[in-house]
Structure formats: C-alpha cells, structure tokens
Symmetry: C2
Subunit: 366 residues, 2 copies
C-alpha cells in the first residue's frame, strides 16, 4: 500500500488490475486515436507552437501508443522521454521506430512515479483527462512528473483545465427509471418463486437489492453526448486548474456553488458535467497560438469523453425563468481513488410561486 493520495490508499498491483490494464489494448488506443476533437487539439497545440518544441526536451506522461511523443519529435524536439505504465510501451517503441524518430523518442516502461528520467525537461505533454476531467485521477501523476522532472520555467501541455456544469433535459431520465422499476419487479417475482420452490424467504434482501439497483440505474453518472439544445441554462465553471502550479490538494476535491436561470417551460432532468483544457504556454513563454480542447455538448464535435449526466428522479417541472441553485461536491471514492463520489444539492426557485425545497442527491462516477 502506498500512502493515500487524497482518497483511498493505493495498492499498485490492484490499481494495475483495475485501471491501467485497459490501456494495454490497441483496441482502446484506437478509440482514443479516432477522437478527432482530441487529436486535432493536440496536433494543433504542438504544430502551431513548434517553437516550444524545437531543440527542447519533452516528457510525455502516459504515452500509450506514443502519438504525442512522435508529434513532439516531428515538431523538432531534441529528445522525448515517453513513459508508459503498460506493455503498450513496446508498441509505442515500434511506432516511433517505424516513423523514423527512434533516435529522439525514448520509450520507458514503468509508472512515472517509479522511473528515472536522465535529465529535467523543458516541456511536459500528457493526455491525462478522464470523464468530467477528474475521473481516473491521472493528473496526480502529471503533478508528480512536473514537480520532479520539469525545469522551473518549463511548459505544461495542456496548461489549463476547467470543469463545466449545467442543467439539462434528457429522455434518459425516463429510460433509467423504467430499467430500475423493471429490475425491482424482476426481484419481486424472483423472490416469490424462490420461496415457493425452495422454501427460503428472500424478503430481508429486498431493500439491499433495491439499494444496489438504485445505485446502478439512478445514482451512477451516465456517459452521454448531449445536443446543445438539451442544456437549459448557461453552463458554469466549477473548477479551474492551472497545470503549472496546481497541487494534489488543489485537485483532490471539487466544491462549488451554482445558480442557473432555466430557459423554456420544460423539465429539469438533471445536470451534466464536462471539461475543457487549454494550451497557452506560460506567462514567460506564452503560446504563439492558443489552442482549446472542449468536450462540451455539440452537434458536430463530439468526443469519446462525452459528458457525464447526473439524473434527478423524478425530474422537476419548470417554467421559463425559474432558478435552480445549489452546490456540487466531488470527492474520491473511499474504495478506489480513481473513481468519484458526487454530492449535488439543489433547490428550485420558481417565478410562479412554485417552490421545491433543497434536496441532496448522491451520485457515483464509476
């Protein structure tokens, strides 16, 4: 066990089984490499700011198939250290070689906390973002890399990140409730059958079963690519991270208040969370061309991250101009530091005297 990182203690072998293993499949790498929004943003960030790479040393944290390391080399880096925890490292090595940059890209297999880099670097590049930014807690490793291996005036790619939050309408609210209700009906039937056939009364497990199913169907955030029209109030930023100086403590928890003026006489079905990151260089060495990568609801530019949806059951009937206000608090799951517990408190203030009192809902980003 390692010491706690703002959450559960970390057993490295368990963490590998639960988390890293996914990244050892080319199938999964292909999914990420097929995300054009993601690819375009990083590609532009590197090639429109070549000056930041030319003749410089670069560290790629979690290189995967090696794409960011190869681009860094192609943009003129003198040396790129590409660190990868899984045995995807062997593929990154062969890809660098096949693309003629094996003399520049040095792939190092190991977790960033364990490996040794021969020198401090000018740039750290990494694609560390999880669902709603924070899932996976991989930025922990980027902070570690920055504090250990980045030169004092070095650059972070990306340099900034933000978490966004907004009220939404979605048919998922009915779908999930129906699935939940069906699972309860299934249990009821099952328990009766079992009692009749085998003489065991299951009723004491009914409540625990309902709780388990409620967590699964209603309290676990859902991946969705929403249309912009499903967002029914101006999104707000609930967290900003300056990648150059954020600490573990800064990122381990998110706590923010919100107030949305709702548009349209419709239903408030829940909330959605997403993120953007920016490539701006730093104050003493700004980007020639600032680049943004956003995962916001979009008709055209969808990403593999999509948005995380937190449903309100039942949804609230609203009128145009109603205000929903409250707070969101995100902490790391006590069982797995890469997953999140989310507490959303909300109350509805209606122009037409209607009033729903403050309600607390607990969610899980699994």
């Amino acid at each position: 066990m390692e010491s706690a990182r703002g959450g559960a203690p970390v057993d490295k072998a368990v963490d590998f089984a639960n988390y890293f293993c996914t990244y050892s499949y080319l199938y999964h790498q292909k999914d990420m490499l097929s995300d054009r929004v993601r690819m375009d943003a990083y590609h532009s960030a590197v090639f429109k700011n070549k000056r930041h790479f030319q003749g410089k040393t670069v560290l790629d944290v979690g290189t995967g198939s090696g794409i960011l390391a190869i681009w860094s080399a192609q943009a003129g880096a003198k040396k790129v250290y590409a660190v990868e925890a899984t045995n995807m490292a062997r593929h990154a090595r062969s890809l660098a070689s096949a693309n003629g940059v094996s003399h520049i890209v040095e792939v190092i297999e190991g977790s960033i906390e364990d490996v040794s880099i021969p020198e401090k670097v000018d740039v750290i590049i990494s694609e560390w973002m999880g669902y709603f930014l924070v899932r996976e807690s991989m930025f922990d490793s980027v902070i570690y890399a920055r504090d250990r291996w980045l030169k004092p005036s070095g650059l972070m790619y990306p340099s900034h990140a933000r978490m966004w939050f907004a009220p939404i309408k979605t048919k998922l609210v009915e779908q999930k409730n129906q699935e939940y209700q069906k699972s309860l009906a299934d249990w009821s039937y099952f328990a009766q059958e079992l009692n009749e056939a085998y003489g065991v009364d299951m009723s004491t497990l009914t409540m625990p079963y309902h709780e388990e199913q409620k967590k699964y169907y209603l309290q676990t955030s859902l991946w969705s690519n929403l249309y912009p029209g499903q967002v029914i109030g101006d999104p707000v930023v609930v967290k900003e991270i300056d990648c150059s100086n954020a600490t573990l403590q800064d990122i381990a928890a998110v706590k923010s208040r919100f107030s949305f003026t709702l548009s349209g006489s419709d239903r408030l079905c829940g909330f959605a969370g997403w993120f953007d990151v920016h490539f701006r260089g730093n104050a003493s060495n700004p980007a020639d061309k600032e680049v943004e990568l956003t995962t916001s609801p979009s008709d055209t530019d969808t990403t593999h991250w999509g948005q995380q949806v937190f449903l309100l059951q039942p949804p609230l009937v609203i009128e145009d101009g109603d205000v929903v206000q409250g707070s969101i608090e995100i902490t790391r799951s006590k069982d797995n530091h890469r997953l999140m517990d989310v507490k959303i408190t909300h109350e509805l203030r209606s122009s037409g005297e209607q009033f729903y009192p403050a309600t607390v809902c607990n969610f899980f980003i699994e």
Copy 2:
C-alpha cells in the same frame, strides 16, 4: 504474493479485484439463484439425503447469499459454518436470521484459506463450478477446506465432477468471423485516415492489432446454450474428479485425447465443453438418492453456465461417418490462475478419402 497454485502466483488483493468482487453483488447472486437446474440439483441433493445432514456439522465454502447453508440447516444440520470471502457475508447472515436458522448457520467472512473453523466437519457443501468446470479455479479452495476441515470419513457435496467435450456445428462461426473481418477493415480505414490527417504511419501496429482482435473474436471461448442437435458426435469425458481425494496437482491441468465419429453431412464448426457433477456420498456412506447436475446442451434445462464453445476457422466440411480425432490440453493462464489456456489439436479422417492434416489451435477461457 502467495506461492503459485499450479499457475500464476496469487496476489490476494488483485485476485479480489479481478474475481471475488463480482460475487459481492446481489444482482449476480440472483442470477445464480434463478438457475433452476442448479437450484433443483442442490435442493434435491440435500433434501433427498437428509440423513447426511441430520445432527451433523457442515461447512459451506463460498456461501454467497447463504442458500446452501440455510438448506443444510433446514435439512437438520446441527451446525453450519458458512464461509464467504466478500461482504455478501452480511446478507447471508441476515438471510439466515430471517429464515430462523441463525442459531445453526454461522457466517464467517473471509477466504477459506484464512479463516478458522472451531471444529472439523461431517460434510463440505460448495457450489464451486465455473464455466467448463475449471474456470475460476475455485475447487482449489474446496480441496484446501477438505484437507484442513473435513473429518476423515466426511462427505463431499458434490462428490464427483466430469468435464465433457464434443464436436459441434454453430452459426457463431460465421458471426465471429464477420466481426473479426469488420474489425480488421475498421483498422485499415483508421490507419489510412490517421496517416493522412496527422502524418503518422500506423502500419507497424497492424499485425499486433490483428493478433489482439483474433484473440478476442476467434480464440476466446464463447458462452453458448447449444441445442442438442448442434452436437454432431457422441460427447466424451476428458476429465473425472473424485472430490473426496483429488489433489491440486490432479486438477491443475487437463490433458486428454478424443476421437469422434461425426454424424450428418454438414460442417464441423468447433467443439464445446461443459460439465456435470454428482452427489453420491462416499463408499462408506453412500447417498440415499444420487443426484446429478448437468450443464449439457438441452432444449429445456439450460443453465447459467451454458457451454464453452471453441470455434474452428474456417469450419471443416464433413461427411457422415468422418472421424475427427486429437487432443485437448487445458492449463492455467500464466497471468491469472483463474483463467485457462486451451490447446486443441485435431485432424479429420474422412471415409471419402478427404483428409485434413493435424492442426493445432490455441484458445483462451477468459
């Protein structure tokens, strides 16, 4: 790390994350409790052989929701120790209590290798069988329990187990090949696009991708509930286990030759593996009523285990009376002792002079 058990070394925390965790969900318990073939067999085994339980001490290895322990108590056991590694133990405890047997059933949370039972027992009952019997390697724990906690003349429930193997025809052979071919075409398109858009040549990863996909689509055994008509030759037993005296060494690997005379002029699409177990008591204390639990292909009595299917790509054209012979060898995966590597060697001897030479196919039970 524990010492190796006929396979990979066992990191207990990783094993819990990969394996045991599934059993901590009531949803999964419900699936098993809804398997009427499974339930009927164990129920009959206990209640038609009450004499084996009346006034006796019983150990249930991996009690889950506690059903076998409760039945043992209802059948007249004096004391039942119900061991469960996951926190499903708390539900087993409340179920025993709600069914009025909490004074008999003592639920102990922990893995069988770690817990202490206050006395040696007369009967060990356990539902330890995985796909094709051996997946999960849970019988290891039953052997441990038997050698440590069963009285010399004690009874094993079940007492015997067999692994069956048979030639089959199935449309899965086309379906999986189409999925595989589609995944290769996807890659080809993806690699071209990526090269054009971002200037990185992915071709060096094409072969590794094909291998990864081949393993996934063609070499991983498939769960299926076959109809009896899909079995095109008399099934053979490839392994027999006497639960009263089998050793870890006996069960760690399976190696058997087979010879099937095929019926019907059709196609040999692969092979299927399944198991049965028997409840016979032992030589000095035989069952009053022997009970069998079989997971063989059936029109009516399907189980959640189904059969494991190993596909031949491409399938072989056969004529009635052709003979396929060869061998099957099952060993534990070097990465995970609960998963299996399967090597099937086969050759077709045709009455009509047609002859396919011996071919070796490697499969994985994941």
